[in-house]
């Protein structure tokens, strides 16, 4: 077995120190070593985005990064997004706008959406769809995900938002 490497990572505000095998992917470090199973694995070719987390302020696919690469980094996972029992506006948007069905893609979608809104607080529908190209959802057909992100964007800009309503 290859020599283990000592890493120190801050995950959701908690500092962790572990000896890891170099080949352990960040996603399995989070899921299996730390028990943070909200980050999912949906593919083996880095396409689906179910594993998206935030590393040092940017969204990354945690299946396409080794845990050793995160040494010294700050990681936020879906479990760390809500603050003081309050949902992040993107989480709230997904709930209000029915932006999820089976919920498997949802943690990754939400983390990607947070990244988008950090970079662009007022995205157009086209920009939202473009920004989601690394996240696959098989259930929703994406429309309500787009609405959820628009809801969150408005809320983050301090504009009024409306909750769950049907389309017609």
């Amino acid at each position: 077995m290859a020599e283990k490497v000592r890493i120190s990572v801050n995950v959701n505000g908690v500092q962790h120190e572990h000896e890891v095998e170099p080949r352990q992917l960040l996603v399995y470090y989070l899921r299996e070593t730390l028990g943070l199973t909200g980050t999912h694995v949906g593919c083996d070719t880095s396409q689906c985005g179910a594993c998206t987390v935030n590393v040092d302020g940017k969204a990354v696919k945690s299946c396409t990064m080794f845990a050793v690469q995160a040494d010294g980094s700050r990681v936020t996972t879906i479990e760390g997004l809500a603050k003081d029992g309050n949902y992040h506006p993107v989480q709230e948007g997904f709930w209000e706008k029915h932006g999820l069905q089976c919920g498997f893609c949802t943690p990754g979608m939400i983390m990607a959406a947070v990244d988008l809104l950090n970079k662009n607080p007022n995205p157009s529908e086209g920009e939202i769809r473009h920004a989601l190209e690394g996240n696959l959802c098989r259930c929703t057909g994406y429309q309500n995900i787009v609405l959820a992100i628009q809801y969150a964007a408005a809320k983050l800009r301090g504009e009024p938002v409306t909750g769950a309503v049907a389309d017609d």
Partner: protein
């Protein structure tokens, strides 16, 4: 999904990275990891050691040196996309990068990784060919600067040797005036891409640059590696660049026999796409 075993070495400096390469002759450099790790997960690549160069300071950053733009090899796509200097000098470069993969890929992937990997379907190889870039490569016995035209040598093969590291990408800004901030004086480039519906890589992509000495154009996605569109460059040489000339020039630019094809996109179709994309890219500039 689970890679084979390897040892991990993180380099703190360029010299340390070079040293590590000497000590681990079969090692692979790890930059953004977004070509290497997917290959390792499918066990298409099983390097015994990885040398992480993503934190090597000498490989990071974007600066201007006179009439040349210098981009460190380990600079991420995201850093290039959001660089003011690049937006001012080559506004089409962020636009091209915007079409690579997805935001997560662009947050991690690096320009040097893309060029050194030389994936036949990658975008930036065509772009740097059109931009007439020069590549700085550091080896155990010093640095060399190679012309982009001799950089790509085959499928996944470049002028970078096993014991060498691509350190910088130099892009001439000669067609833009040195103090230029206005987009009209920036490098006139356009990149048109036809993405694969699943992988998002290029089925075909064409980059064109209109410079003081004429048109440079290159394609990717269909050949063994990105290549110049010399037929197009010649057809336009010395001609006024108007839509009619462009239209007439963008015919049968590459021979399908030289291209690769698969069940979704045959070589013949890709050759046709190159004509269409070249035309569209040029028409955006004339």
């Amino acid at each position: 999904m689970y890679t084979a075993e390897f040892t991990y070495h993180r380099a703190k400096s360029l010299s340390e990275a070079l040293q590590m390469l000497q000590q681990n002759p079969e090692a692979k450099l790890l930059a953004g990891g977004h070509s290497l790790i997917p290959a390792m997960k499918l066990r298409l690549a099983t390097p015994p050691a990885l040398i992480d160069i993503s934190r090597v300071p000498e490989l990071k950053g974007i600066r201007r040196e006179g009439n040349t733009l210098v981009i460190g090899a380990a600079t991420t796509y995201y850093e290039i996309e959001t660089s003011d200097l690049i937006r001012q000098t080559i506004p089409a470069l962020p636009e091209a990068i915007e079409q690579i993969g997805d935001p997560m890929v662009r947050n991690k992937g690096t320009i040097g990784g893309s060029l050194a990997h030389a994936d036949p379907a990658a975008d930036l190889p065509a772009v740097v060919l059109a931009l007439d870039a020069r590549l700085k490569i550091q080896g155990p016995s010093g640095a060399k600067v190679v012309d982009v035209d001799s950089f790509f040598q085959g499928m996944f093969t470049t002028a970078v040797g096993q014991d060498e590291i691509l350190t910088e990408i130099h892009i001439p800004l000669s067609s833009a005036s040195p103090s230029a901030h206005a987009p009209t004086q920036a490098v006139r480039m356009a990149y048109e891409k036809f993405p694969h519906p699943a992988s998002r890589y290029a089925v075909a992509g064409v980059a064109v640059v209109i410079g003081v000495s004429g048109v440079r154009a290159a394609f990717t996605g269909a050949g063994e590696h990105a290549m110049r569109l010399s037929k197009l460059e010649q057809a336009l040489s010395g001609k006024p660049l108007d839509p009619q000339t462009v239209e007439a020039a963008c015919q049968n630019l590459v021979d399908p026999a030289q291209l690769m094809g698969d069940h979704n996109h045959s070589a013949e179709y890709r050759a046709h796409l190159i004509d269409v994309l070249a035309k569209r890219a040029l028409l955006r500039l004339v």
